[in-house]
């Protein structure tokens, strides 16, 4: 039987006396901690503003049409960064074209077969591990394989291959998680209509997951644009005075790119004036932010259209 013995209801007043002191202490502690949390949040926001403001302040004076469209002059100490911008864009384009199909279909593969067999689980873990691998390891690998063993030399092609390798794991993971968010009801609906598994995937699941997939691709490319390490010894050249010509042989030649420009600019202090460096910093950030903003835009527009 229910034993409610030994239970006297103690007069409320007694307990309240005990509690009163605690209440004050707890309220104080709470106020302190919550303000600290809020302060840190605020500080983070401030940090971002300060950083961006400084870059903008230091870099904006340099940004001009000339800066963006002219190559460097006088041994890299004047002029613009057009070849670097072009190089970065080329690298990104190639990486995009190569990494997207591999990454998206790889992600589909993981989402469909992911937990079926030990091999697949191993692959899932490996892809996760590769996604977290330092970019310099990719640079090393790219050097050994694409530049040297495959004899591509330090070239655009080698850079494409290395960047592709760098981007693919994260695209695979974001694709997979985007596909996982597709409601089972939707998939069931498709199957119930008589569609095959692959038809359901292609026509129902993929369009639903598309915003997430695209976001993942763009964010991954954004990282690729800003990382110097994968292209450091696989595709980069520093001194570039001539206007870039786009022909078949550009594939076999190294390209200038923004992060490498910044990295080397540091190594050779005094050659490149500080204002050019900050201008390049600002350009790189704007490029990355444009990509991110593009991702957000696509995400919201597609959400509206499909949902």
């Amino acid at each position: 039987m229910i034993e409610a013995a030994r239970s006297k209801v103690v007069p409320v007043a007694e307990w309240e006396v005990l509690a009163a002191r605690q209440d004050v202490r707890r309220a104080r502690k709470n106020a302190l901690l919550t303000s600290i949390f809020g302060a840190v949040g605020l500080a983070t926001v401030l940090l971002v503003f300060v950083l961006v403001a400084i870059i903008a302040y230091k870099g904006a004076p340099t940004i001009s049409w000339e800066f963006l469209t002219q190559p460097p002059r006088e041994g890299m100490s004047a002029g613009g960064v057009a070849p670097m911008i072009l190089g970065s864009l080329l690298l990104m384009l190639g990486a995009f074209l190569l990494a997207t199909p591999l990454g998206v279909f790889g992600g589909i593969c993981l989402a469909e077969y992911g937990e079926r067999s030990r091999l697949m689980r191993l692959m899932h873990a490996s892809v996760a591990a590769l996604a977290g691998t330092p970019p310099i390891v990719y640079g090393l690998f790219g050097l050994a394989i694409f530049v040297l063993k495959f004899h591509f030399g330090v070239s655009l092609i080698a850079g494409w291959c290395t960047l592709t390798l760098f981007c693919v794991p994260s695209i695979v993971l974001t694709t997979e998680s985007a596909l996982k968010t597709v409601p089972a009801a939707l998939i069931d609906g498709g199957l119930a209509l008589g569609l095959s598994r692959w038809q359901t995937l292609w026509r129902i699941a993929l369009p639903y997951a598309l915003p997430g997939i695209l976001t993942g691709i763009i964010l991954s490319l954004g990282r690729a644009v800003g990382e110097a390490t994968p292209v450091l010894f696989t595709a980069s050249v520093y001194y570039s005075t001539a206007e870039m010509t786009l022909g078949w042989d550009t594939l076999r030649q190294p390209v200038a790119n923004l992060p490498y420009y910044l990295a080397e600019g540091y190594r050779q202090p005094g050659v490149v004036p500080e204002r050019l460096i900050w201008g390049a910093c600002l350009t790189l950030i704007i490029l990355t932010l444009l990509l991110n903003a593009g991702a957000i835009l696509i995400r919201s527009r597609m959400r509206r259209r499909y949902l």
Partner: protein, 260 residues
Amino acid sequence: MTATMAIPTQKTAIETVDLSVSYNGKSALRNVNLAFPENAVTALIGPSGCGKSTLLRALNRMNDRIPGVDIRGKVLLNGKDIYARGVNLTRLRREVGMVFQKPNPFPMSIFENVALGPRLHYGLRGRALREVVEDALRKAALWDEVKDELHKSGLALSGGQQQRLCIARMLAVQPRILLMDEPCSALDPISTQKIEELIIELGKQYTVIVVTHNLQQAARISHYTGFLMYGEVIEWGETRQLFERPRRPETEDYIRGRFG
């Protein structure tokens, strides 16, 4: 429509005065005037969406943080409006405890689950703390089952045991009013029965207010019942009277099962 006020022979533990609650413009409760009797079990029944949970939560201000909520009127505890400015929420929830539909023990040991409240609220330590924990577990009819395994995780218990753990956790804080939001709906029949018996027993010393969608349960465990529909109190009175001789046609329809 204002319902009848307190039963004259009973002291009132907590009462609402023209309480109205709406979310983002949609009204959930309208002009509720209820006085819940002390040391008795009151059931709140009604069809889905009638506002009974909202009413329950209004009694310990758990609605406060729902976005878009608008609360008007008063809720008087010890004669003081709990929605007044500067009311100490910590103290309020000390006096008015709550258990939820789905048992939600914290991811820690059984002992820690129950000890958390008294340790924080009253600064209890050591022996005093252990006594309060044991007392609470006994009151919740769980002591005998777990007394040798207090270090085990609260999540390792069965559903019914978890709910009793949540009740013990609530009791350890020494409340006077116990709010229970459909406490048995996630449990199997045997656990439900145990908890119903527990509620009846607790009703002897605490003011218990139970929201339930199970009419038979309400009839079994409560002294008083309030029937709500569309955010208004349709009828309110002693359980036996409400079930056997309902005064309002809507009440009768609901009780006879003519709608859910």
